[in-house]
């Protein structure tokens, strides 16, 4: 009796290839389309119906059953509300990290297991070797940053088939398997709003609140329409005309002020340490060991040491790191191995 894998099929090319690879590897594969909460922002319909039709075509092509799980309520509460709430508090949250932690590898995973899955697979670009999370082979597409908080019990039974390949190879495999999704463009933007800007999405929940933009000399240089819309390191969209570009280096939510500098090398913007809390570890950190540290998805890792404090930890970089945004995750790597991380304070 071959082992049963449930694979999350999104209607995109990556999860389609994941399903095809698992089938070729001899697993007994069941596809699951997750219906997550979607917001219809004016003028933009979230394309989930097309995604479902695409997933259905793939399941038919592979002759595997397709289930539909409806997690709209859970997704709304655990991901969308969390995200809006964090922005309201002036943070830069990471909904993808939250989605993996709370939905894909909790609610979804549990449901798959209870319906007979030995393993649960997704189309993530990451690797899972003996219950240890590793970066995907394609460093450019690597999604381990988003997965570092996935629950350990789920890691024991998780499979990431596409993480073993380069993206270009995945496209080639899709053609070779003759998958109906082979030519589908990669999805963009927030998965639950479709092609709407983050600001337009947030504005559905948060009212504009005009305030001052202040430069590093203390001069008012412009107006913004709500400090919560801005993130540290942000360069565009300040509405400050002419001259050199400005970068956000800080915000004061109480005063509703956004602080900017024109100097990209300013010490205000480039820090040599950070504090993180709400930590999550795969392996114990060693004192005085130099790790690769990543403060954003796809940013080039920088070297750093970890210092323990009572209920948080500090990262001390070997060189300065730019635009460290509270609310984002800091993820610690040893080579390709994910050691753990936390939420930047």
């Amino acid at each position: 009796m071959s082992q049963v894998v449930f694979v999350g099929l999104s209607g995109g090319v990556d999860s389609s290839v994941a399903a095809a690879l698992l089938k070729v590897q001899g697993y007994h594969v069941t596809a699951v389309f997750m219906k997550n909460w979607t917001a219809d922002v004016a003028g933009n319909k979230c394309p989930w119906e097309e995604d479902l039709a695409s997933a259905r075509a793939v399941a038919a092509h592979l002759h595997i059953p397709l289930k539909i799980y409806d997690f709209q309520k859970e997704y709304r509460a655990k991901v969308a509300d969390y995200m809006v709430d964090a922005y309201r508090r002036g943070l830069t949250p990471n909904p993808d990290v939250m989605c993996n932690q709370e939905i894909k590898f909790r609610t979804f995973y549990d449901m798959c297991r209870s319906e007979g899955a030995d393993f649960v697979a997704t189309g993530h670009y990451a690797r899972m070797h003996d219950g240890q999370l590793l970066r995907g082979v394609d460093r450019n597409k690597d999604q381990s940053y988003f997965l570092y908080r996935m629950p350990h019990d789920a890691a024991e039974h998780a499979l990431f088939p596409v993480g073993e390949y380069e993206k270009s190879e995945i496209r080639r495999l899709a053609e070779r398997f003759d998958l109906p999704t082979a030519k589908r463009p990669d999805s963009q933007g927030l998965c639950f709003v479709g092609n709407v800007s983050l600001k337009d999405f947030l504005h559905e929940f948060i009212d504009y609140k005009p305030g001052d933009i202040v430069d590093d000399q203390g001069h008012k240089v412009g107006q913004h329409d709500g400090a919560f819309f801005y993130t540290i390191g942000q360069r565009h969209g300040l509405g400050v005309g002419g001259g050199k570009p400005y970068f956000v280096y800080d915000k004061d939510m109480a005063k509703n002020e956004v602080y900017v500098t024109t100097d990209p090398d300013s010490a205000l913007l480039n820090k040599d340490r950070l504090m993180a809390a709400d930590e999550y570890w795969w392996q114990a950190v060693e004192a005085d060991k130099v790790y690769d540290v990543q403060v954003r998805y796809r940013s080039t890792p920088v070297e750093g040491r970890i210092m323990r404090h009572s209920d948080k930890f500090e990262v001390v970089f070997s060189q300065t790191e730019r635009a460290i945004a509270p609310g984002q995750s800091v993820v610690i790597y040893d080579g390709d191995v994910v050691i753990g991380g936390g939420i930047i304070q």
Binding site: K35, E49, A59, A60, H61, H63, P65, L66, I68
Partner: protein, 392 residues
């Protein structure tokens, strides 16, 4: 894509007839605005009016009774909103198997002073005439019932429905009541299958769509009986005698005329050919597959149209599997699969949720052969077996 494809979704879209394409291309050369006063403009106007009179001939009506539109949906919207704009209140009667282009405008009017009433249909989808007679009251301002349902295929007794409306109209006249009553009929699915003689139908407005009769998409018309006061829903240059603004689509009009002429010429032969094929398919389906339920009326059914439910299967899955074998069919309606809400029209026939979920709509056209249907049946049977083995 498979090399040999079998297309069985003619109720959704048809290929353009080469003769229609020719007529359309000929008109494209005369690009001037038909409202322009110079000779090329006059030529365009002339082509437009020739097309309109050819259309009128097929519908046995006057040219002035034809409003050219962008398709069936616009025609339905124009009829419903256009007829009722100045009336403001009253009852609107329709049936649950109507196209959403009819149901949605009525639902919207239902929020603004009008009352929406569903007429009773039987398990074949046919309107119950004796019940309709009492559903129509002195407050009824519009009855909107399609000539034939594109989803179920059932043909409605439009002429008898029109008689009921005329009876009520006559009664009001005698009683000196001012409230008007109209009958709108969406004939998009019926074109090429049933007579479009507007005199015999007795309707007030009727929608047609070129895309369903081997014409281009984005072209349609609304027949508006003479003397009716139809308000435009699109305002602008007052084209189409003030009933629909926008520069006239002359190639579209020429295509519409040609599509209708050809459909009418071929109608009787096509109907008898497709009726035989449909009946045979229905019989073989019930013989060869378990749990098949044929939807709609046994006799009063559009030729070449067959809606059926396979209990225990998912129509969307069947469509996807048939597609991998190069066979294109529809479920008949865009259903909310993730919410597991099956077709409202099929449910209205009294089918169970799982039956409605397993609905396929097969619609044949000019290129359909018996070999296509045999192949379809063979593939469908094998897909059902596959699905049985992987059922979750």
């Amino acid at each position: 894509m498979k090399e040999h494809m079998i297309y069985l979704d003619y109720a959704a879209a048809t290929p353009i007839d080469p003769e229609v394409a020719k007529a359309m291309h000929a008109a494209e050369g005369v690009f001037a605005n038909p409202s322009a006063r110079y000779s090329l403009g006059r030529k365009a106007r002339e082509m437009l009016e020739v097309a309109r009179s050819q259309i009128a001939q097929v519908l046995a009506c006057k040219s002035s009774e034809i409003v050219l539109t962008s398709g069936g949906s616009e025609s339905d919207n124009l009829a419903i909103f256009g007829l009722l704009k100045d009336i403001g209140r009253g009852e609107i009667i329709t049936i649950p198997t109507e196209h959403v282009a009819v149901l949605s405008p009525i639902a919207q009017l239902g929020q603004t002073g009008f009352v929406q009433k569903m007429a009773t249909i039987d398990e074949t989808g046919m309107v119950d005439l004796s019940k309709l007679e009492t559903t129509i009251t002195d407050q009824t301002v519009l009855v909107a019932i399609a000539y034939a349902s594109s989803e179920i295929g059932t043909i409605q007794p439009i002429a008898q429905i029109a008689e009921l409306v005329q009876q009520e109209r006559a009664r009001r006249k005698q009683a000196n009541e001012q409230t008007p009553i109209f009958l709108h009929c969406d004939a998009s699915a019926a074109a090429g299958r049933l007579s479009l003689d507007t005199n015999r139908l007795g309707i007030d407005t009727m929608s047609l769509n070129a895309a369903k009769i081997y014409g281009p998409k984005g072209v349609g018309l609304l027949y508006v009986r003479r003397g009716l006061n139809l308000s435009p829903i699109m305002l602008g240059g007052g084209q189409e005698a003030g009933r629909r603004a926008g520069t006239e689509n002359v190639p579209g009009a020429a295509a519409m005329a040609k599509s209708l002429q050809i459909a009418e010429q071929m109608r009787k032969a096509e109907v008898s050919r497709l009726t035989a094929m449909t009946q045979q398919l229905a019989r073989r389906l019930t013989e060869e597959l378990p749990n098949v339920l044929i939807n709609g009326h046994a006799k009063m059914r559009l030729a070449g149209h067959l809606s059926f439910s396979l209990d225990g299967y998912n129509g969307e899955d069947l469509v996807a599997y048939l597609d991998t074998e190069g066979i294109m069919v529809g479920t008949g309606a865009a259903c909310e699969a993730a919410n597991r809400k099956p077709s409202r029209a099929v449910m209205a026939l009294g089918r169970s949720q799982t039956q409605a979920q397993g609905t396929l709509r097969l619609s044949m056209g000019r290129a359909t052969t018996e070999a296509d249907l045999t192949k379809f049946l063979e593939v469908l049977t094998s897909i059902c077996k596959t699905l049985d083995t992987i059922k979750v």
